[in-house]
C-alpha cells in the first residue's frame, strides 16, 4: 500500500438551502464512494422509521446535533470525510439559510473548492448570489456549479443551458478563477459518480471526476516567502544546549538551507542554517509544511515575528483596509476597540470606520452605514496597536486574513480579508 505517498487532500464546501438537495448530494457522494458504514445506515434507517418517513432520509447522516435534528435544519458547519483511490476529501457542510452566513464563511476559509447547488426548476435565486459572493470573497480557487434535480425537468438541455448562461452573466461581476458546470440528479445519481444515461447531450466530466482531477497544487502561494514564527524551541538539555530553532508553518514561498533571510520587525538579516522536523533535514520547505528552522546568526526572534526574504517583504504597517464578515449578535459600530489576530500575532486594534456594507444578495454597496450586524459583510478601516506584516488576501489567504476577538467575552467576532 503506497497510495498515501501521492494522494492529495481536497477540502471543499457545499452551499445550498434546505430544499435543493445538498444533503442528498453529500449522502450520494459518501454512499457511492462507499464511505458510509453499515451501522451508520442502520442508525439512519431506524431514525427515519421512528419519525414515520416513507424513505431513508440521508440528511440524518449529516445533521449531527440533537437540536438540529429536532428542527430538521443544519445549523452549524459539519465536516465529512471520504476518499477515492485518487484523493482524500474533506467536506465542510455548511447551511444555506440567510442567518448562517457566518458558517459559510467559516467553511469557505479553508476550502480549495466550493460546490454551489442550483435547483433546475428554480434557476438562480438570491441565495445563489449570496453563496457565489462568499466563495469569491473568500477566494476559493475553484467553483463547481451543480444544476441539480435534472430528473424533474426531463433532463432538459435547454433548461441547463439557460441556467449556465444566467450564471455566467452574473459571475462575470465576481472574482472567481475557475468555474465549472455539471447537470446532475443527486437523488438518482446522474453525473455524480457515474455518467448519466439520461443526459447524453452532456459531454463534460462527472462531479466526482472533477473533484478528483481539479488542479490544486498551485492554489497556495509558492512565490512570496513567509514564515510566521510560532514559537522558539530551546531544549535546555545537555545534548542540545545551544540549539535555538524557530518553529512554524510556511505560509508562502519556498525556503531552502543557505537562503538569505530577513526577520521582521527587527530587520536583521541572516542565512538559513537548517530546516528540519524531528531531526530530519528538509531540503525545501513550502506551504503548508510545519517545520523548525535554524539560522546562522543569533538573533532575538520570538512568536509573532516573521522570517521572509530580503528582496520580497510583505506590507508592514498598522493601518489596514479589510472586508469584514461580522459574526456576533451585538453589531459592530465605528471606534470599537478589539483584539486582532493575524498569523501568530495578537494585538489591540480599533475599527475606525465602516466604509460601506455589501448587500450580499444584490452585491450593491450601501454607504453611510452606522453599524455592521450579524452576518453582514462590509469594508472597514482598522488601526492596529502594533505593526503587522501582511499581504493582500487575494495574494495570500494566510498572511492576508485576520480575526477580531471581543476583549471582554473572548468570543470570535469577525473574519477579515485584507484588501
Amino acid at each position: 500500500m503506497n497510495i498515501q505517498e501521492t494522494n492529495q487532500l481536497l477540502r471543499f464546501t457545499t452551499a445550498g438551502s434546505v430544499d435543493d438537495g445538498k444533503s442528498t448530494l453529500i449522502g450520494r457522494l459518501l454512499y457511492d464512494s462507499k464511505s458510509i458504514f453499515e451501522d451508520q445506515i442502520e442508525a439512519v434507517k431506524t431514525s427515519s422509521q421512528m419519525k414515520g418517513f416513507d424513505y431513508v432520509d440521508l440528511s440524518l447522516l449529516t445533521d449531527g446535533l440533537k437540536s438540529e435534528r429536532e428542527q430538521g435544519i443544519t445549523i452549524d458547519v459539519a465536516y465529512r470525510y471520504f476518499a477515492t483511490p485518487k484523493r482524500k476529501f474533506i467536506i465542510a457542510d455548511t447551511p444555506g439559510h440567510i442567518q448562517y452566513t457566518r458558517n459559510m464563511v467559516t467553511g469557505a476559509s479553508t476550502a480549495n473548492l466550493a460546490i454551489i447547488l442550483i435547483d433546475s426548476r428554480k434557476g438562480l435565486l438570491e441565495q445563489t448570489f449570496r453563496h457565489s459572493f462568499i466563495a469569491s470573497l473568500l477566494k476559493i480557487p475553484h467553483v463547481i456549479v451543480c444544476i441539480n434535480k435534472m430528473d424533474l425537468v426531463d433532463y432538459s438541455e435547454e433548461v441547463y443551458d439557460q441556467i449556465v448562461k444566467d450564471y455566467k452573466a452574473f459571475a462575470s461581476k465576481m472574482d472567481i478563477k475557475d468555474i465549472q458546470f455539471v447537470p446532475i440528479s443527486a437523488l438518482n445519481g446522474d453525473n455524480v459518480v457515474d455518467r448519466s444515461k439520461n443526459m447524453v447531450w452532456y459531454e463534460g466530466p462527472t462531479l466526482l471526476y472533477l473533484l478528483e482531477h481539479v488542479h490544486i497544487a498551485s492554489d497556495l502561494n509558492h512565490i512570496d516567502c513567509r514564515f510566521p514564527v510560532q514559537m522558539v524551541i530551546r531544549p535546555h538539555t545537555l545534548e542540545h544546549q545551544d540549539f535555538r530553532g524557530y518553529a512554524g508553518r510556511v505560509e508562502g514561498g519556498i525556503f531552502k538551507p543557505g537562503d538569505d533571510v530577513k526577520v521582521l520587525p527587527s530587520g536583521f538579516t541572516s542565512r538559513i542554517k537548517n530546516i528540519e522536523l524531528n531531526g530530519e533535514a528538509i531540503e525545501e520547505a513550502f506551504a503548508p509544511m510545519s517545520v523548525t528552522m535554524t539560522l546562522e546568526d543569533e538573533i532575538d526572534i520570538s512568536r509573532g515575528d516573521m522570517i521572509v526574504r530580503p528582496n520580497n517583504v510583505p506590507h508592514v504597517g498598522q493601518d489596514l483596509d479589510v472586508m469584514l464578515c461580522w459574526m456576533n449578535q451585538r453589531p459592530l459600530r465605528g471606534r470599537t476597540k478589539l483584539i486582532l489576530k493575524h498569523t501568530t500575532k495578537d494585538c489591540q486594534a480599533m475599527v475606525k470606520e465602516i466604509l460601506y456594507k455589501v448587500n450580499v444578495n444584490t452585491l450593491h454597496r450601501e454607504e453611510g452605514v452606522e453599524e455592521l450586524a450579524l452576518n453582514e459583510i462590509g469594508r472597514v478601516s482598522i488601526r492596529a496597536a502594533n505593526p503587522l506584516f501582511f499581504d493582500a488576501y487575494r495574494r495570500n489567504r494566510q498572511t492576508g486574513s485576520v480575526i477580531l476577538i471581543d476583549p471582554n467575552t473572548n468570543e470570535t467576532l469577525a473574519a477579515g480579508m485584507i484588501i
Binding site: 498515501q4 449531527g64 508553518r249 522536523l277 480575526i403 470570535t412
Partner: protein
Amino acid sequence: MGQYYLSHLKELEAEAIFVIREVVSQFEKPALLFSGGKDSIVLAHLSKKAFYPSRIPFPLIHIDTGHNFPETIIFRDSLVGELGVKLVVGSVQESINEGRVREETGVNASRNALQTVTLLDTLEDLKIDAAMGGARRDEEKARAKERFFSHRDEFGQWDPKNQRPELWNLFNGKKHNGEHFRIFPISNWTEMDVWQYIQQENIALPSLYFSHQRECVVRDGVILAKSEFIKLKPNEEVQLMTVRYRTCGDMPITGAVESDADDLDKIIAEVATTRTTERGTRADDKRGETAMEDRKKSGYF
C-alpha cells in the same frame, strides 16, 4: 522545479503539528489526554515531532478506570519512559472511594460515564487550561461539528450551539479564569489516515490491535473480552476467538472484531473493506441516539 504539494498524510501531519504548537504557545498549562489507544499514541508521536529536540513540554494524563486492558498499561508505561515525559494518572477507583461518583450496577455496568468526574477533577487539581485529545470528527456525528479549539465553561461543559467560529488557521484560545479548552489536533483524520500514518511512521502499538486468541463473550452482537470486570448472564458462554480491537476503551464495553489481521498491511486492507464504524463496537455509544452528544455536553471528551 519539483512538485510543490504534500501528500494527504503530510498535510494532516503539518496541520496537527501546527495545532499542537499553537496550544503550547497560547496556554499556560496544557496536557495530553492519553487513553493508550492508537489515536492518543499518534498524538504523542506528533507532539514529539513538534518540539524536537526539546522534550514534549506537557504531561500525559491518563484517566484510569481500573477496567483497562493490562496490555494498555504496560504499553503506556514503556512509551512514557521512552519519551521522557511526565505521566499523571487520575483514578476512577479513587473517585468511587471518595464518594465523588457512584458505581453503576447490573450486567452492563460500566465506568465510562464515571470517568468524566475523575477527568474534570484531575484537570482542576493540575490547573490544566488546555487538554488535548485524539478525538476525530469522523468518529461520531456529534464530533463532526467539534472545533479544533473547543471551549469549555467553568463546569467543563460543551455548548454546541454557541461555538466560536474557526477560520483559516487562526485559533482563538482566549478564556476567562476557571474555563478551559479541549483541543483536537487530529480532528481531520479518518480511521484510515491514522492507520496509514502509523505504518508510514512505523509507530509501535499495544498488541491488542493485532489479531490474537482471546476468551470472549458475545453480548448483543458485541464481542467482549472475558475479564474480572464483566458479569456473565446465565445463558452466556465463554468461547475462544481470534480477534483484534479497533479501539481501545474499557474492557467491559470495548468490543473486539473477529480478524486474522496480525500486521499493519493486513489491518489497512481490513479497514479499507470494513463496513462498520470503529465506534460501532463501543457499547457506550449505543445508549441512545445522542449518547455521545449528551456526554460531551457534560464534560466528556
